[in-house]
């Protein structure tokens, strides 16, 4: 069977699954096939209130990548925050900049902490090379402003997610907006000194070490103070999202 024959069979299996385990299995199989036609079915699976199925569907949507972005943006469920959080996780995993406004809006204003968390993470996984060079500075500035705000969220997990994104943004803007970099390092230091949550402070410490590796590396690159480029560890397509 080629993919075009397979799709309806796998989609039907999801629709006809009559137990929680069968649903997980069916969504996993559909997700593994990586067929574009499966996107609406995978998106629907985000709303079944079945974490196993949702994890599999997010994996599948991330693997499909760019073709899933428009349908995700169109079908984001305004009435089911569980499904919305998973959809934002999928968008964060894909990293497509078309999701920017949705991510900014959700990270700043959604009432659900799991939606804000996923969106805050997504702001740090954007694929900057998709942005036209003339717009890069203004968009990165916009994301920076948003993250500095989100880093003050009342929920620890949203602040934690914001820290992961400040980390990757710090590395990205070391080239494009070096004069803004201190705003990130200042914010991180402020959080290390004042955040009430030990888990968040620990993540901040880790971010600081990634942005500014320990001194011994300095010896190899004298004269480059402050932020240095290093390999980012942003979630890429196909990463395990479990």
């Amino acid at each position: 069977m080629n993919n075009s024959d397979l799709a309806p069979v796998l989609i039907r299996a999801v629709q006809e699954a009559d137990s929680s385990e069968r649903l997980v299995d069916a969504v996993q199989e559909l997700a593994a096939a990586g067929i574009e036609e499966s996107v609406p079915t995978l998106i629907a699976a985000l709303g079944y209130n079945n974490p196993g199925a949702a994890v599999a569907a997010v994996d599948g949507l991330i693997a499909i990548g760019e073709p899933a972005v428009s349908p995700l943006l169109e079908l984001i469920d305004d009435y089911n925050y569980g499904a919305r959080a998973w959809a934002l996780r999928a968008l964060a995993g894909i990293g497509d900049v078309r999701a920017l406004n949705t991510l900014l809006e959700a990270a700043k204003t959604d009432f659900s902490l799991s939606v804000r968390r996923a969106a805050a993470r997504g702001l740090g996984t954007l694929r900057w090379h998709q942005v036209p060079p003339e717009k890069l500075e203004s968009i990165q500035t916009q994301v920076l402003e948003a993250l500095l705000l989100i880093a003050q969220d009342p929920e620890w997990v949203v602040r934690y997610a914001a820290v992961t994104s400040l980390e990757t943004l710090a590395i990205a803007i070391a080239v494009t907006l070096p004069d803004q970099a201190s705003r990130i390092t200042n914010q991180l230091q402020h959080m290390l000194d004042t955040d009430v949550d030990l888990g968040v402070r620990t993540r901040v410490k880790f971010a600081q070490q990634k942005i500014q590796p320990p001194q011994h590396q300095e010896a190899f690159a004298p004269g480059i103070p402050g932020i240095k480029l290093q390999e980012t560890e942003v979630a890429h397509r196909g990463d395990s999202r479990r």
Binding site: S114, P154, L198, G199, R242
Partner: protein, 281 residues
């Protein structure tokens, strides 16, 4: 209170943006004595939710532990339950003795809330009273023969004794590993790990993460986070449950890794947990 185990209600995936915020602190304290029983009940919850630890709030809540006005048809005491739960969140030692007295209340849920709050307050003075309730379920060093015995909030009692490091109760905790109710077994395994640090008890919880029922997996996530059992990290990240709960559980592991030391560089275990947490955001 970073490392103290949280109540399951706080772990629920239901997002909560602090609704009911229209009350003021003064109103809430005054409402504890309102003629409207519904307002009293809500005020007690509200004071705990927003951790209002002013002396007047603590005094009002302690008084509410002896409320007689608010009764369920079965004889339960709704206001006492909420007051007991709230006092656990306010970190005021004045509540310890009144909560110990609640362990004798006729209402199961008041006893359960009192045990949970005594655990959160962390004062070992309550240990003998907790033991007294625990032994109701025992004949000598075995579970009593009438099973399942649901007469006492064993889960909460076991968790409290573990957190309070009541090592003298190990022989009394151990039989509950065989309790017919799985949640009680897990509470016993959690306490045994806290009391002995033996990995076998942590592993028992890890194994439970592969169980069939979501409700039980959620409970085990909370247990593993509370004991900070690092070898569970991958299993936590992989179990089928909401990411919110996995993240809270892993945060427990992370904080356990960095709690007792101020490291210049993060320990390897902490970095492993951070990477798992990042992948779940």
């Amino acid at each position: 209170m970073n490392s103290s185990p949280q109540k399951f209600e706080d772990l629920s995936p239901t997002d909560d943006n602090g609704d009911g915020g229209s009350l003021t602190v003064e109103q809430a304290i005054a409402n504890l004595e309102s003629a409207d029983l519904g307002l009293r009940f809500y005020a007690a919850w509200w004071l705990g939710r927003f951790r209002i630890s002013e002396p007047a709030a603590v005094t009002g809540l302690i008084k509410a532990l002896e409320d007689e006005a608010d009764r369920t048809p079965e004889g339960g005491y709704p206001l006492r339950r909420n007051a007991a739960r709230a006092l656990g969140k306010l970190s005021d030692r004045q509540a310890v003795s009144p909560l110990i007295a609640c362990l004798d209340c006729s209402d199961f849920y008041v006893r359960e809330a009192a045990a949970q709050s005594l655990e959160m307050l962390g004062d070992p003075v309550c240990i003998p009273a907790l033991i007294k309730l625990l032994v109701v379920g025992l004949q000598g060093e075995q579970l009593c023969s009438q099973q399942p015995d649901l007469s006492q909030p064993y889960e909460a009692i076991l968790e409290a004794l573990g957190t309070l490091r009541a090592t003298e109760v190990i022989p009394l905790v151990k039989p509950f590993l065989e309790h017919p109710i799985e949640l009680v077994q897990y509470a016993a395994a959690r306490a045994m790990y806290q009391l002995t640090q033996e990995p076998a008890y942590g592993e028992r919880l890890v194994k439970a993460l592969a169980g069939e029922r979501l409700q039980l997996r959620r409970a085990v996530l909370a247990d593993l986070g509370a004991i900070g059992y690092l070898p569970a990290a991958d299993a936590i990240a992989q179990t089928l449950a909401e990411n919110s709960l996995k993240l809270i559980s892993l945060k427990g592991l992370l904080e356990h890794q960095v709690n007792h030391i101020t490291p210049i560089t993060l320990p390897e275990g902490a970095i492993k947990v951070i990477n798992l947490m990042d992948s779940l955001l």
